[in-house]
Symmetry: C2
Subunit: 332 residues, 2 copies
């Protein structure tokens, strides 16, 4: 929670949640029952900073105008390290937000109380309050999207570390000589380099080229987009190349999860983000590798589950952030 | 803190701390200033369960008899996963303690209030209360001994996870196709397999064989024990093979620390255990790799330090456990 200057007078009944990914923005009006009353989506890949902030403010304004009645607050999930002390987006791998006082900028542009947190933190907040991690004491989350986000919750509170930057579970090294992790991360062979949506597309294209006669190979030849949804569908239909890609991704996920099981002894690990749409096609191999590699006692205890809210977890969590932040202010 | 049946009447002034490693047991009488008034050491490698428990009780009895006056409590650090709910040593890689209600067994054998925790947890407790992590909010510790222990402390409290088994930082996978981790851990290429004392000895023997004319090679030919102390001394004298072994170990340590920096955003990571006697010869390469691989903001923040208490951290932490546990009972 950072930096807004407007204080609400009553507990909010109507909030907007914004989930800003590396590629798309999802925004929705969320009612008190966590139902998405209205929603909108924008593409943000490639935008410069001011265009990006305008696009976000535009999405919020569109929802507010449609709604007609008052909006109490807006929560934003952003794919950035957060610097708690300085209320900044400290660094961002996929968007030009490094060094931006994001909540303050959005308050100025929208005139609404604005709260911001890391997108994966907010996805876990939603899953913990109403979804796959409900009631669990020690919960972790990985969001497999353009990049891989992570979040840690113990005793109902997000764990933020010394500066607010904790929880980057996608940036564990699982393969020291592996591929460069990409812009914003100086690492190599991070978990993200094997289990993100980008990694899935890269491996699927390679598999399609290696098996041009298969369904995946023919899809490539037809110029179709080789990405998660297609790969999941073809794997579900039994295409060996697509199945192989998802199995390998799930096994890498399992290598990372085994380490997290040994480190955190968690009750539950929730897998969300677009890639998690593959469901059991990646979760089954991940659980198998955890059982093979992790220490027996914590491995037998942990539940590894798909996110309840799928692609909407981040947006719902952003709305919950706004709602809980305003409720805390009123209580204070 | 688990299961003892005797309640002390006053805050303790005299406690015994026992640090049980995979190879040796160190026990000491610790006064209120954390000074070790008396100490003893036993070799425990290879003992069966009842012989092991007798040996530990023997060390405690020896110190108590020498002391003449009353001992208020004994704290034990053991190299085991702890099962909080069932007050058991849930599993142990290097000693036959799996399934043993350790505190209860030692209370029975010694007649003294007995408290037990994971050895690395206690080393961090000592470093946090009086050593290299003093005053730090988010502190991690790795103990590089026969195996590699780990511990996590936030806000002055040890983090234990869902069952008490958390903090096994040595069992992060850093090399998925690496060597089997060893008995008690089903993993492969765990950090422990590259940075433990056993790993150091293995790599040093290989380096000695590859360079028979060097100082390390000549030491091997003379039948000397190729282990941490000799390797550190020869490296300090400039032997290239010994230096190479410690540099490589430090770089593997850095790979693991980079992941921990990204996950926890810690204030400090303390490196203890016998191998940490190599000091800057391993810490310098570790810090270099962290700077290369970890996310910039948490990497710039974290301090990576040698343990203040060296080989005695576990024993002092065990004494602090006993003291703080008794103080809590009196306060309750």
């Amino acid at each position: 929670m950072r930096a807004p200057s407007i204080v609400a007078q009553v507990p909010t009944e109507c909030v907007i949640g914004v989930d800003l990914g590396g590629t798309n923005l999802f925004a929705g009006v969320i009612d008190s029952e966590l139902v998405v009353a209205r929603r909108t989506r924008r593409t943000v890949a490639g935008l410069e900073l001011s265009g990006l902030l305008d696009e976000i403010a535009g999405a919020v304004g569109e929802l507010r105008d449609e709604l007609g009645s008052g909006v109490d607050a807006v929560g934003y999930g952003i794919p950035c390290l957060i610097d708690d002390e300085h209320a900044l987006a400290a660094s961002s791998v996929h968007l030009p937000l490094a060094g931006v006082a994001f909540a303050e900028a959005m308050s100025e542009r929208t005139g609404l109380p604005s709260f911001v947190d890391n997108d994966a933190n907010l996805a876990l907040l939603a899953e913990h309050r109403n979804g796959a991690a409900q009631g669990e004491r020690v919960a972790l989350m990985l969001t497999l999207g353009t990049g891989v986000g992570g979040a840690i919750m113990t005793g109902g509170e997000l764990y933020r570390g010394a500066q607010g930057a904790a929880g980057e579970l996608g940036h564990m090294t699982v393969d020291p000589d592996g591929p460069d992790c990409g812009p914003g991360c100086p690492g190599r062979g991070c978990l993200e380099a094997w289990i993100s949506g980008s990694a899935l597309a890269r491996e699927a294209r390679a598999a399609a080229q290696a098996d041009p006669a298969g369904a995946l190979g023919r899809a490539l030849a037809q110029g179709r987009e080789i990405a998660g949804p297609l790969v999941s569908r073809l794997a579900g239909e039994g295409d060996a190349a697509a199945l192989g890609v998802l199995t390998a991704l799930g096994e890498w996920l399992g290598v990372g999860l085994a380490s997290l099981v040994n480190i955190f002894n968690p009750d539950v690990i929730v897998i969300g983000g677009g890639v998690s749409g593959a469901g059991e096609l990646i979760l089954e191999p991940a659980r198998r590798v955890v059982a093979q590699r992790a220490l027996a006692m914590p491995a037998a205890h942990v539940a590894i589950r798909a996110a309840s809210f799928g692609a909407e977890a981040g947006m719902l969590g952003a709305a919950l952030l706004a709602r809980e932040s305003i409720a805390r202010r009123v209580a204070a």
